[in-house]
């Protein structure tokens, strides 16, 4: 590993010839499928890869993608974005968050708008930067608006640990971490209110590799076993994605229903136990987390454990935070898109009223949302 360069991590996994070879193999194998199959890529990162590299153009007609809810910015309900906005507008608060969160509109506007109105809003690459910001601004309260799936939760947990250990008194947390397997169960099990049925369209899942680097592939054990849905844990480069798709198709033509790992170069069954322990120490399950576009999903969100309430901005700023739930625009069909009942272009406001610069629905707000990816890359197909 001594001479490993960054390019080694992606160069071979974007090779045109390898991608074409997988496309040919998939086309041959797909002829043996008894019925068309719908594969859900759970993670927004996969949606991005699939659309950016144009992979649907390489797949036969009987292999279809359903773009899942795995974009932590997209699934944030408006009332929680309003929390971020209200916190940012408090005197003496510096609101810190990650990436795209800054441009998602809540009911009063986005964090970008709050910043234009004078609020101190910053985005960081690593939550640990909060410590430096807190040191430089001892008379301000730094609130870390934590978002993300299993991949970013350990980083927040490390920050909580450091804040406690270093006795830092001016960092608080607003926790919005969510988990992948619970929402997958919800997508299989839930009743769709629009069509009043339980008929989801998902035949198999492409599991995100980075989630399993932390949580192991074990989190998907139940899907082949209890729900009859194969899962292949897959990496994010186009060669990875094509191999993952190929592995799923082979399971169908060989009548198998298993959990497999395409991304063997990093993922194992147990995952990173140290990270899991850290999460367990500081966080506990929220009984319900409301997902934008999907509604309440049991056990899918995390919050700080009760003993750390002193660090919880949701508790410390309880009096100013709005509590009413806010529904999305009634023309928005993001819920249907996330369940695989519709494609972005079937939405009447897609690309017209709802665009990346003026997003209305959840799937348009982040570059990893299905609608945003279709808007940016998918307008040819």
């Amino acid at each position: 590993m001594e001479n490993l360069e960054l390019k080694n991590l992606y160069d071979d996994f974007r090779d045109g010839e390898t991608i074409k070879a997988y496309a040919n193999m998939i086309a041959e194998d797909a002829k043996k499928l008894k019925k068309p199959i719908n594969i859900m890529e759970v993670c927004g990162g996969h949606t991005h890869t699939i659309m950016k590299f144009g992979l649907p153009q390489l797949l036969p007609e009987n292999v279809n993608f359903i773009h899942g809810p795995g974009c932590p910015v997209c699934i944030m309900p408006k009332e929680r974005i309003d929390h971020a906005y209200v916190l940012a507008m408090q005197d003496d608060v510096i609101l810190v968050t990650l990436g795209d969160m800054i441009k998602v509109p809540g009911s009063n506007g986005s964090l970008q708008d709050a910043r234009a109105k004078g609020a101190d809003v910053r985005f960081v690459y690593s939550p640990m930067e909060c410590i430096k910001i807190a040191e430089e601004n001892p008379d301000k309260t730094v609130i870390f608006f934590a978002i993300g799936f299993e991949t970013t939760t350990p980083m927040t947990a490390v920050l909580v640990e450091q804040v406690i250990k270093q006795k830092i008194t001016n960092i608080l947390f607003h926790i919005n971490h969510v988990t992948v397997p619970e929402v997958m169960v919800e997508l299989i099990d839930s009743r769709d209110v629009h069509v009043d049925s339980y008929n989801n369209q998902i035949d198999a899942f492409l599991g995100p590799s980075h989630v399993s680097v932390i949580s192991g592939s074990k989190i998907y054990d139940k899907f082949p076993k209890d729900y009859g849905r194969p899962v292949v844990v897959t990496g994010f480069e186009p060669v990875d994605a094509m191999q993952g798709i190929s592995m799923i198709i082979k399971q169908f033509i060989e009548d198998r229903c298993e959990l497999e790992v395409q991304y063997k170069r990093v993922v194992n069954h147990e995952g990173n136990l140290k990270a899991q322990e850290l999460i367990e120490t500081y966080f506990e399950k929220m009984s319900l987390f409301r997902w934008r576009g999907l509604g309440n999903v049991p056990d899918s969100g995390l919050k700080l454990r009760e003993e750390y309430a002193a660090y919880d901005a949701e508790i410390q700023y309880k009096d100013v935070l709005p509590i009413a739930e806010i529904e999305d625009h009634k023309l928005c069909i993001c819920g249907d898109i996330l369940r695989g009942m519709a494609k972005p272009q079937e939405c009447t406001i897609f690309g017209t009223a709802c665009k990346p610069t003026t997003p209305i629905g959840s799937c348009m707000v982040s570059s990893e949302g299905a609608c945003a990816a279709y808007y940016k890359y998918g307008n040819l197909i």
């Binding site: 360069e5 960054l6 390019k7 991590l9 992606y10 045109g16 010839e17 991608i19 074409k20 496309a23 993670c43 927004g44 990162g45 991005h48 659309m51 950016k52 590299f53 144009g54 992979l55 153009q57 390489l58 932590p72 910015v73 990650l98 990436g99 795209d100 969160m101 800054i102 441009k103 970008q112 708008d113 910043r115 234009a116 109105k117 985005f123 960081v124 690459y125 690593s126 930067e129 430096k132 978002i147 993300g148 799936f149 991949t151 970013t152 980075h210 186009p238 990346p356 610069t357 570059s367 990893e368 940016k376 890359y377 998918g378 307008n379 040819l380």
Partner: protein, 330 residues
Amino acid sequence: MTKTITIAHGNGGEENNELIKKIFYKHFENDILAKSEDAAVIEDGKLAFTTDSFTVSPLFFPGGDIGKLAVCGTCNDLAMMGAKPKYLTCSVIIEEGFPTRDLEKIVKSMKKELEINGAMVVSGDTKVVPKGAVDKLFINTTGIGEIEQKGITAAGLKSGMSILVSRDVGAHGATIFAAREGIELDSTLQTDCASLYPQIKALIDANVNIVTLRDATRGGVSAVLNEWAKTSDVCVEVEEESIPVQEEVRGICEMLGFEAVDLANEGTFVLCVAKEDESKALEVLQNTHTTSRVIATVTEQYKGKVLLNSSWGTKRFLDLPTGELLPRIC
């Protein structure tokens, strides 16, 4: 328009265009401004005239500083109209407490860059404002140049023509991201910040018939290609593999979730020439940068659009960058 101006309105992409059109063009409306070129062509095509303000943070970065940038930026806008930069103005707004030594360092690097262009600063202004009113130092330069090759226009693209980039793309944007606080990246990357007039002169001297030119600043190569495709109502078909990108720039893009073609450059231009001029132009450009490449062909497949062809046979549109450039979060 949104009720307040956000950072995204200064991104060189879609929101930026909206701001310019809906506020400035609306009130300043005139035929010269409406051409929306890098520099205005005035006095019957004899002179090119332009202005630019510089607010880069940090002020000093690998391979350059705000002073070098302030001269390159304005001189390059003139050069992009086929003009030789002649006279510049220089206005500085300085935050109180700014170190005099740094100011002199910046002015010295302006002087050095003026010499490369054969131009001089002939008028100026200084303002000092209280702490916090600006971030350290802002510079505005305005420039006049003498047009040496007439007829350069973004509306001149026709089917069959070739498009080249003068060197590998995205170096300035990637350098600035790597140098920003909080990213903690060790990198040997340097900005591409450079005066482009010498290369334009070399093209003119070699009798390359320049159809159009643009330096790929904010919004990067994708903003330039999109603007040309729209203005000339043609399709620009890019072979993705042929776009030259340095390994380090590619690495930073991978890590932060950017595309090199969206990143700003300060010494890289895009050039459109007739097919028969392609090899001559490439030869001239490669004398300065061996990384110069032919990256695209003008076609009529999807008018007004930039099409990106991958090496595995898929196609997608390359759109204008939108929003703030933000890192992917997972």
